[in-house]
Subunit: 478 residues, 2 copies
C-alpha cells in the first residue's frame, strides 16, 4: 500500500517549488491563434514529461501546432490516458490588472493568494498542479500507481483541428488504456463541484452568399445602392436562405432529417436529471448570462432536459456591406455568417453538414457556400465507470458537500476522440481547486484557498488520492 | 447685349488665376464626417461670395456644420438659386498617388493637366470654376445677367441632415426665385453629357433587434453559444423579421401598402425613356459595376424603366456577434442592419418609415427598433423648363454630340428642397468639364482638356453662355 500521508506531506513541504513550477509554465506564452510561444511551450511540456521519468516524451508534428506525446510505464495493471491543452486564448483588447504573462501572486479575497495569468485556470495552471502531484508521488513511492499515456495539443482554442492526427498516430497504443482521466480545478467559488460526464458535439461553419458564386448581383465589390432597382442582392439572398432554416422563433430547425438521429435520453441520464432538478438553480445561470426568460419560458426539469438534449443551429455572427457609423449607400457583393450546430447523441457532424447542404440545394441556394471550420463529436461516459466512481469517492472523503453531476454539458470538447470509436474509453475530469476568468482578463488560479475552496496543496493532494483510488478500484465493482 | 466674346477672352487671359483659385478652395480640407476644416472652408466660401460683390454673404449656423447664404442682386428680371455642397468625403484607408489636399497639377493622359485632390470633382473643383466664370462676367460687364441666391451646406456627404434648416430660414426669399441652376463638370471621359432632371428620394434607416428590447435572449452581452439550447436569439429574430419584408428573391417588397403611392411614369417621362433606349448601353454599367445579369435578366427599355421607377428596399450592411477570423462560439445579444429605401414619385420618406413600423408590428416584431438616420425626398423637373432648355441649347452650340437626358436618376440628392413645396422651382445641373473619382483615391478635375473633354477655360465659358442663355430666354417660349 502506498503511503498517501507521506505523499501529502511531500506536497506540503514542496509547496513553494510547486507554485514556482505553475508560474514557470504560465509565464511561457502559448497563444495558438497568434502562434505566440506555442512551440516553446510544447518543448517545455515535453521536458516536464521527461523530468517525471517518462520513457517516451516527444513532440508530435501536425499540420498545425505541434502536439506532445509521452508515456510513463509504471508496470502497473491499469493504464490511463491523460489529455492536455497547452495553448491559451489571445489577450487582444483586454485590460489586465496584473500583466497576463507574469504569473504574479496576489491577494484575492476570499481566496487568499492567487496567481493571475492567461491560462491560470484554462488550463495550464491546474495542469501543472497535476504534474506536481505526480512528481510528489514518484518522489515518495518511486513510481506512479498507474501507467499514463500523455496526449497534449496546442490548438484547443482553435477547435483542435489537428488533434485527430495526434490521436490517430498513437491509436494502437491508446487502445490499451483503461480510461481517460483529467484532473484539475473543478470547484466553483463556493467549493461546490460540477462533474460532467460528456459533451455535446459541435460543427462550426461559415455560410456565404457572393454575387460571384450566384452569378447575380455585384460580382466583385459593393456598388452604389441606387442600382438595387435592377440588381439582385446577395445579402437579401442570405437572409432569405437562412430564414428557411428555422421556425419563426428561431428555435425549431426546419432542415429535413435534422432530428432523425436524435436519441432519447437514456434511463441513466434521466436518473441523473432527476437528481439535478433538486440541486440546480437556474437563477445562477440567469444572473451570469443576463437572461430574463428561457425559450418558451420553460423552467425546472424541462429547462434541464432542453439544455441537455436539444440540438441547436446558432448564428454566432453575421456580416456584410457597410457596418460603420452613419450612412453609406451600398449594395454589398457578399454576406457571410458563422453558424454553429450543437450535436446531441446520435448526431454526427458529417451528416449534419450534408443535411445543411441538401437543404440549401433543395431550396435553390446551391451557390451559397458552407465552409466547415471545425468540429467535435459528442461524448458520453457512464456514471457507473470506475474512473468516475473513483473521483466521486474522493469528493466524499474530502467532504465536498454538493457534487452536481451532469450527464453531459452543453459545451463541446475533443473528448470524443477518447470515448468513441476506436478507443471507446470512459473519460472524466475532476479534482479540487478553483480558478475563474477563462477567456477573460485577470484569469486566476487559487493558490492559498479557504475553508470552502482548496488551495494548491489540497488540490494536488486530491489528485493523488483520486489516482490511487482509481488504481486500486476492484474490477468487480464496475 | 453682353459681350460674351470679351468674357470668354477674360477667362482665357486669367486661366492661371482661375486655376489657382480652384487649388486654393481644394486645399482647404472640409471633411464633414470628421469635422476637419469644415468651418474654415465655410468661411473661405463666404469670402468668395463677398468678393463677387454679393450684398449679403453670411455663415448660417445650424445644429450641425454651418451653411453659407449669399445674395447677389443684379437688378435683373430673373433670379436663380444656386446650390453648393462644400464638404467632401473622408480619405481614411485610401492610398493616393498625389496627396489628397495638395491640389497638385499632374499630367493625366488623354486629358493633359488635371488637378488631383479630394473634392476635385465632387464638388468643390467645378464649383470654384463656376465662381470663376461669374467673376469674369462681372469683370467685363460690371454685373451678372441674373440675380443669384447662393445656398451652401457642409453636410451633403452626411445626408444633408441640417440643410432643411438653412432653406427654411431663407424660404421667403427663395420663393422669389425662378429656377435652381447648378453648373459644373458634367461630361464623361468621352465628352458625352448626361443630364438628370431629378432624383429618387431616399430614407436611410437602421433596424436593430436586441435581447434587451425583446425581453428574451441575452440581455447585455454575447453569451456562450451552448446556451442556444434554452435561449432565444436576437440574430435569428432579425433574420426572420427581415425575411418577411421581401419576396424570396429579395426584389419585391411585401410590406403592406408599400406600392400604393407609386405613380405611373408621366407621358413626358416615357418620351424621354424612348429616346434613352437608343443611346443607353447597359454594357457600360455592367463593366463599371461588375454585374453580369440584371434582375430577372431584363434589358433595354425594361431595364431603364425598372431602374427609374422601382422603389427599393436595400440592405446596405448587416452585423451582429463575432465577425472575426476563425471560430468563436457566441450567441449574440443583438443584431443590426442598415436599410435604405429609394423613393419614387409619389412616395414620401415619412410614410415609408411608418409602413415599415406597421409591418414589423403586425408580424409581432414591435421590439425591433427602426432608427431613421437621414432622408431626401424625390425630385422632378420638366424637360420643358426654360432653365433646362437653356442648358441643352448651349450643349448644342458647343457641339456636344451625345446628350443623354434622364427623367431622373436612381441616386438621391437634396434637390427636393428646391423643387417641391414650398419653393416649387425647376432645377437642373449642367455644364462642360470632366472629372472623376468621387469618393475614391486620386479624384481629379480636368484642367487642360482635349478635343472631346472641355478643360477649365472651355468649361467656364460654357457656364457663362448657359447663364446668359437662360437670362435671355423669352418667357413665352416656356
Amino acid at each position: 500500500m502506498a503511503d498517501l500521508k507521506a505523499i501529502h506531506r511531500h506536497i506540503e513541504e514542496h509547496e513553494a517549488e510547486h507554485v514556482a513550477k505553475v508560474q514557470e509554465f504560465l509565464r511561457q506564452p502559448s497563444i495558438s491563434a497568434e502562434n505566440y510561444g506555442v512551440r516553446e511551450c510544447a518543448e517545455l511540456l515535453r521536458q516536464y514529461y521527461a523530468d517525471l521519468g517518462c520513457q517516451e516524451a516527444e513532440l508530435v508534428e501536425t499540420d498545425g501546432h505541434p502536439g506532445v506525446w509521452a508515456c510513463y510505464d509504471a508496470g502497473a495493471p491499469k493504464t490511463i490516458v491523460n489529455y492536455c491543452m497547452y495553448d491559451v486564448q489571445p489577450i487582444v483588447g483586454e485590460e489586465w490588472y496584473s500583466p497576463p504573462f507574469e504569473a504574479q501572486l496576489m491577494e484575492k479575497p476570499p481566496f487568499g493568494k492567487v496567481i493571475i495569468n492567461r491560462g491560470a485556470i484554462n488550463s495550464k495552471g491546474p495542469y501543472r498542479m497535476w504534474l506536481n502531484a505526480l512528481q510528489s508521488i514518484i518522489a515518495v513511492e518511486g513510481k506512479l500507481p498507474v501507467n499514463i499515456m500523455f496526449t497534449a495539443e496546442g490548438e484547443e482554442e482553435l477547435g483542435s483541428p489537428h488533434f485527430p492526427q495526434i490521436i490517430s498516430k498513437y491509436q494502437e497504443r491508446l487502445r490499451m488504456a483503461d480510461a481517460c482521466l483529467n484532473l484539475g480545478a473543478s470547484q466553483n467559488q463556493e467549493g461546490k463541484v460540477q462533474m460532467s460526464l460528456g459533451n455535446k458535439g459541435i460543427v462550426y461553419t461559415e455560410l456565404e452568399c457572393t454575387g460571384r458564386e450566384w452569378g447575380r448581383g455585384p460580382q466583385q465589390y459593393d456598388i452604389h445602392s441606387s442600382f438595387k432597382a435592377v440588381t439582385d442582392s446577395p445579402v437579401w439572398r442570405l437572409v432569405q436562405a437562412l430564414s428557411t432554416m428555422t421556425s419563426e422563433d428561431g428555435n425549431t430547425i426546419l432542415i429535413e432529417g435534422w432530428y432523425d438521429k436524435v436519441a432519447e435520453p437514456s434511463q441513466e441520464d434521466l436518473e441523473l436529471v432527476d437528481r439535478l432538478v433538486d440541486t440546480f438553480d437556474d437563477r445562477v445561470w440567469k444572473e451570469i448570462l443576463k437572461i430574463e426568460r428561457w425559450i418558451d419560458d420553460i423552467e425546472g426539469r424541462d429547462l434541464i432536459l432542453k439544455y441537455l438534449y436539444s440540438t441547436t443551429l446558432n448564428i454566432d455572427g453575421i456580416w456584410g456591406g457597410y457596418t460603420g457609423p452613419g450612412t453609406k449607400t451600398v449594395l454589398p457583393h457578399k454576406a457571410t455568417c458563422k453558424v454553429d450546430v450543437r450535436l446531441v447523441p446520435n448526431q454526427e457532424s458529417r451528416d449534419i453538414v450534408l443535411l445543411m447542404r441538401a437543404h440549401l440545394d433543395k431550396h435553390g441556394y446551391s451557390d451559397i457556400q458552407i465552409r466547415r471550420l471545425s468540429g467535435y463529436e459528442w461524448s458520453k461516459t457512464s456514471v457507473k465507470e470506475p474512473v468516475v466512481q473513483a473521483v466521486l469517492r474522493v469528493y466524499e472523503q474530502y467532504g465536498v458537500e454538493d457534487v452536481i453531476i451532469w450527464p453531459h454539458m452543453g459545451g463541446s470538447a475533443p473528448m470524443y476522440l477518447y470515448t468513441r470509436e476506436p478507443l471507446n474509453l470512459p473519460s472524466v475530469s475532476g479534482g479540487l481547486g478553483h480558478g475563474a476568468g477563462a477567456h477573460s482578463p485577470d484569469e486566476y488560479l487559487v493558490i492559498e484557498g479557504n475553508d470552502k475552496v482548496a488551495g494548491l496543496v489540497r488540490a494536488e493532494q486530491s489528485y493523488v488520492d483520486i489516482l490511487y483510488t482509481y488504481a486500486e478500484w476492484p474490477e468487480e465493482e464496475t
